[in-house]
C-alpha cells in the first residue's frame, strides 16, 4: 500500500469552482450527497417537531396552522428532495459507471445540469418555506390546494422542477447501461444494483412527466382558475388524484427499487456466497416496475371511484407481492448457509430485510378493500409507509453509504460507533413506527393536530422512539464526518467484493480505472474466491 497521496478524483483538480463545474460522475454524486443529506436533516427536524407536538393533545409547541405546514414540509422535503434522489443520484451516480467499467455516465453535462436543477427546485421549496410553507400535505390534493392561502405555487413549482432532475438522472442511467458497459460485461453479468437502477430509471422516465403536467395544471388552476380540478366549474378533483397517483405510486418504487439493488449487493458480499436466483432478482425489479403503473387506484378506494375499479386495483395491488416476495426469498436463500459477517453495511442490509417485510406485508392489509376502509388515513398507513420508506429505502441507503464510504472517501469510519448508531436507529425506528400501527388500527387519524386522551400513551412512546432515532442519526453524522478527517486510509477492497468499483483505488482516480477493465468472471462468484480478506487486492 502506498503512503504518498496519489492523485484522485477528490484532490485533482482542486478548488470550489472545479467542483461546481465538474463533469465527473463521482463528484456530482458527492454534490448530490451533500445536498440530499442537508434536505434529510431539514425533513428530520420537521419530523421531530411533529413528534414533539404530538406528545400531548391540544395546544402545544405550535398552532394547528403551523402544524399543518410542518407536516407538509416534512413530507414534501423528504419525498421530493431526499428520498427520490437519495440512492440513484448519490450512490448510483458514484458507483454505477464504475460498476460497469465505464469512465463516466453517457451524458456528463446533463448529469451536472440535473444537480443544478435539483438546487433550483430546492430553492423554490425553501422560498415556499420562508413564505410560511404549504399546508396541504405533500399530495397537494385539490380543491383545498387551490383555495388555501399558504404558498402552494412555489412548493409545487419546486416539485415540478425537481421532476426534471429525476428524469435526467434516469435518462442518463438507461443510456449508460446500454452503451457504456465494459468489454465482456454482458447483460446477465451486470451487478444487481445496476439492474435495479435500470428498472428505477424506466419508472422515472415514464411516470415523472405525468406529475409534471399535473403540477403544471394545478399551478394554472390555482393562479388562473382554469377549472379542470374545480367541481364548481365542471372540473374534477378526483381527476387530480388519478393524475397525481399515476406518478406517485410508481414513485414509491423509484424509492424502493434502488434500495433493493443495494441489498442484493450487500447480502451476497457479506454472506460470502453467490447470490441466489440472480435472474429472478433482476427480472423481479422489472416486474415491480411494470405492475407499479397499474395500481395507482389503491390510493383512491375511498375517493369515489367505482367499485369495479377498486376491485381491479385491489387485485393488481396484491400482484406486487409476488416480485417483492421473489426478492425477499432469494435474499434469504443467499443468506442460508452463508458465512455472514456483520459489518456495518450488512447490519443495515439485514434491517432492510426485516423492516421491508413488515412494511410490505402491512401494505397487503391496505390493499384489501374492506380493511382499507377502516385503516385508510390513519396512523396505520403512516406506519406502513415509514416501514417501507425508512425501514426499507433509508436503511438500505445507509447500508450502501457505509458500504461505499471507504471507496468514496478512501477513509474507514469507526465501526464501534457505527454499531451504536445502528442500534439507536433500529430500535428507535421500531419504537416510533410500530406504535403507529397500533395507534392506526385503533383509529387515530393521520395529520391530526389533537387527539382523544386514550391515544396519549402510544403517542408518547412513539415520540420517545423518534428521539432515540434522532440520536442514532446524530451519532452517524458525527462519526461519518469525523472519519473524513481522522479515519484510517481505506484499502482498495475492504470488503473483498468482486464488482469492478472495488478493483480500482480508494478513492478512485478521475478516470476511474487505469485501463478499461475487461470482465471475465462473475461478480457474485464468491464460491470461487478465497474467503480470507486480504484488504488490498
Amino acid at each position: 500500500m502506498e503512503t504518498a497521496i496519489k492523485n484522485n478524483y477528490l484532490n485533482s483538480p482542486r478548488g470550489i469552482l472545479s467542483w461546481l463545474t465538474t463533469l465527473d460522475h463521482k463528484r456530482i454524486g458527492i454534490l448530490y450527497l451533500a445536498s440530499v443529506m442537508f434536505s434529510f436533516l431539514l425533513g428530520g427536524i420537521f419530523a421531530l417537531l411533529i413528534r414533539i407536538k404530538l406528545l400531548v393533545p391540544g395546544e402545544f409547541l405550535m398552532s394547528a396552522e403551523a402544524y399543518n405546514r410542518v407536516f407538509t414540509l416534512h413530507g414534501a422535503i423528504m419525498i421530493f428532495l431526499f428520498i427520490i434522489p437519495s440512492i440513484p443520484a448519490t450512490l448510483g451516480n458514484f458507483a454505477l459507471p464504475m460498476m460497469i467499467g465505464a469512465r463516466d455516465v453517457a451524458f456528463p453535462r446533463l448529469n451536472l445540469a440535473s444537480w443544478y436543477i435539483y438546487v433550483a427546485g430546492a430553492v423554490f421549496a425553501v422560498y415556499s418555506m420562508v413564505q410560511g410553507g404549504a399546508d396541504t400535505g405533500w399530495t397537494f390534493y385539490t380543491p383545498y390546494s387551490t383555495m388555501t392561502t399558504s404558498s402552494v405555487i412555489s412548493m409545487t413549482l419546486g416539485a415540478f422542477i425537481l421532476g426534471f432532475s429525476s428524469i435526467f438522472t434516469g435518462l442518463n442511467f438507461i443510456v449508460t447501461i446500454h452503451k457504456l458497459r465494459a468489454p465482456g460485461l454482458t447483460w446477465f453479468k451486470l451487478p444487481l444494483f445496476v439492474w435495479a437502477l435500470y428498472a428505477t430509471a424506466i419508472i422515472q422516465i415514464l411516470a415523472t412527466p405525468v406529475l409534471g403536467i399535473t403540477l403544471l395544471l394545478l399551478i394554472l388552476e390555482r393562479a388562473f382558475s382554469i377549472g379542470v380540478f374545480n367541481p364548481a366549474m365542471g372540473g374534477d378533483p378526483v381527476l387530480y388524484q388519478h393524475f397525481f397517483w399515476f406518478y406517485s405510486h410508481p414513485a414509491v418504487y423509484i424509492m424502493i427499487l434502488p434500495a433493493m439493488g443495494i441489498v442484493s449487493e450487500l447480502v451476497s458480499v457479506f454472506s460470502h456466497k453467490k447470490i441466489f436466483g440472480y435472474k429472478a432478482i433482476a427480472f423481479s425489479s422489472f416486474g415491480i416496475a411494470f405492475i407499479s403503473f397499474l395500481v395507482w387506484g389503491h390510493h383512491m378506494f375511498t375517493s369515489g371511484q367505482s367499485d369495479l375499479a377498486s376491485m381491479i386495483f385491489s387485485f393488481l395491488t396484491f400482484l406486487v407481492a409476488i416480485p417483492s416476495g421473489i426478492k425477499v426469498f432469494n435474499w434469504l436463500a443467499t443468506l442460508y448457509k452463508g458465512s455472514i459477517s456483520f459489518e456495518t453495511p450488512m447490519l443495515y442490509g439485514l434491517s432492510f430485510l426485516f423492516l421491508f417485510t413488515v412494511g410490505g406485508l402491512t401494505g397487503m392489509f391496505l390493499g384489501a378493500l374492506a380493511t382499507d376502509v377502516h385503516l385508510h388515513d390513519t396512523y396505520f398507513i403512516v406506519a406502513h409507509f415509514h416501514y417501507v420508506m425508512f425501514g426499507g429505502t433509508v436503511m438500505a441507503f445507509f447500508g450502501g453509504l457505509h458500504y461505499w464510504w471507504p471507496k468514496i472517501w478512501g477513509k474507514i469510519y469507526n465501526k464501534t460507533w457505527a454499531l451504536v448508531a445502528w442500534l439507536f436507529t433500529f430500535v428507535g425506528f421500531n419504537i416510533t413506527f410500530f406504535t403507529q400501527f397500533i395507534l392506526g388500527s385503533r383509529g387515530m387519524p393521520r395529520r391530526y393536530y389533537s387527539y382523544p386522551a386514550k391515544y396519549e400513551g402510544l403517542h408518547e412512546i412513539s415520540t420517545i422512539g423518534s428521539i432515540v432515532l434522532g440520536v442514532g442519526m446524530l451519532i452517524m453524522a458525527i462519526y461519518l464526518i469525523a472519519s473524513l478527517f481522522r479515519g484510517r486510509s481505506a484499502p482498495a477492497n475492504p470488503w473483498n467484493a468482486l464488482t469492478l468499483e472495488w478493483q480500482t483505488d480508494s478513492p478512485p482516480p478521475t478516470a476511474n480505472f487505469a485501463a478499461t477493465p475487461v470482465v471475465t468472471g462473475g461478480f457474485y462468484d464468491y464460491d470461487k474466491v478465497s474467503p480470507n480478506p486480504k484488504g488490498d487486492s
Binding site: I174, I213, M233
Partner: protein, 215 residues
C-alpha cells in the same frame, strides 16, 4: 482506440468510438421523446375525460375554431418536417450551405406557424373564448364550455412552447453549421434536432383533428 477516433470532431473522452457516442446520443433523445409523449399524455387524458363528460359542448365549442387556419398550420408544419429532413440529408452529403438554407427554411415555417397561431389566439381573446374564469363568451350551448378552451389553450400552448424551444435549437444549429461545425462525418446534433422536430409535428397531427375536426 485508434488515432482516427481520438481526432474525431466532437468525440467526448468517455466514449471509445464515434459510433458508440452517436448511438448513445440517439438513444438518449428517444428516451427524452418518451417523456414528452407522457407529458402531453396527461393533457390527452384530460381531453378524453372532459370530452366524454361533455360530448355536445365539445362539439359546439369546437365549431368556434377556424378549420382553415388549423389546416393551414398543419400544412406549414408538415412542410417544415420536409425541410428539416432535407437539412439532415444535405449535411449527410457534406453540403453545408444547403444545410443552412434548409434549416433557415424550417425556422421560417415554424415562425409562420406561430404567426397563424397568434392570430387564432388573438381572435379567441377578443371574443372572450378563454379558459376557466376568464371565459366571457356567450353563444356556445352545453355544460361548462370554458373547459373546452382550457383544454384547447393548454394543449396548443404547450405545443407552441415546444415549437419555440425547437426554433431556438434550430437557430443554434444554423449558426453552428454556418461556422462549419458539422460535416458528413459529425452531424449528430442536426439529426437529433430533426427527431425532436418531427415529434413536435406529430403532436400537432393529433391536436388538429382532436380539436378542430370533432363530429
Amino acid at each position: 482506440m485508434n488515432d482516427h477516433s481520438i481526432n474525431h470532431p466532437g468525440l467526448a473522452h468517455h466514449f471509445s468510438t464515434p459510433q458508440q457516442q452517436k448511438e448513445s446520443a440517439k438513444l438518449g433523445l428517444w428516451i427524452f421523446l418518451v417523456t414528452e409523449v407522457l407529458l402531453f399524455g396527461g393533457l390527452f387524458v384530460a381531453y378524453g375525460v372532459f370530452r366524454a363528460w361533455n360530448p355536445e359542448m365539445f362539439y359546439n365549442a369546437h365549431r368556434s375554431l377556424n378549420v382553415f387556419l388549423g389546416a393551414l398550420n398543419t400544412v406549414i408544419l408538415i412542410s417544415s418536417s420536409v425541410t428539416m429532413a432535407l437539412a439532415i440529408r444535405s449535411i449527410q452529403l457534406d453540403d453545408q450551405p444547403k444545410t443552412v438554407r434548409f434549416l433557415i427554411a424550417t425556422i421560417i415555417l415554424a415562425a409562420a406557424f406561430l404567426v397563424v397561431k397568434y392570430f387564432e389566439y388573438n381572435h379567441k381573446i377578443h371574443l372572450g373564448q378563454l379558459p376557466g374564469k376568464f371565459y366571457t363568451f356567450r353563444g356556445i350551448e352545453g355544460t361548462n364550455p370554458h373547459l373546452f378552451f382550457t383544454i384547447y389553450f393548454a394543449m396548443t400552448g404547450l405545443h407552441a412552447l415546444h415549437i419555440i424551444g425547437g426554433m431556438s435549437v434550430l437557430i443554434w444549429l444554423t449558426l453552428k453549421t454556418s461556422r462549419g461545425r458539422f460535416s458528413a462525418e459529425y452531424y449528430t446534433p442536426v439529426e437529433l434536432a430533426g427527431l425532436y422536430w418531427h415529434f413536435v409535428d406529430l403532436v400537432w397531427i393529433y391536436l388538429f383533428p382532436l380539436l378542430y375536426l370533432i363530429g
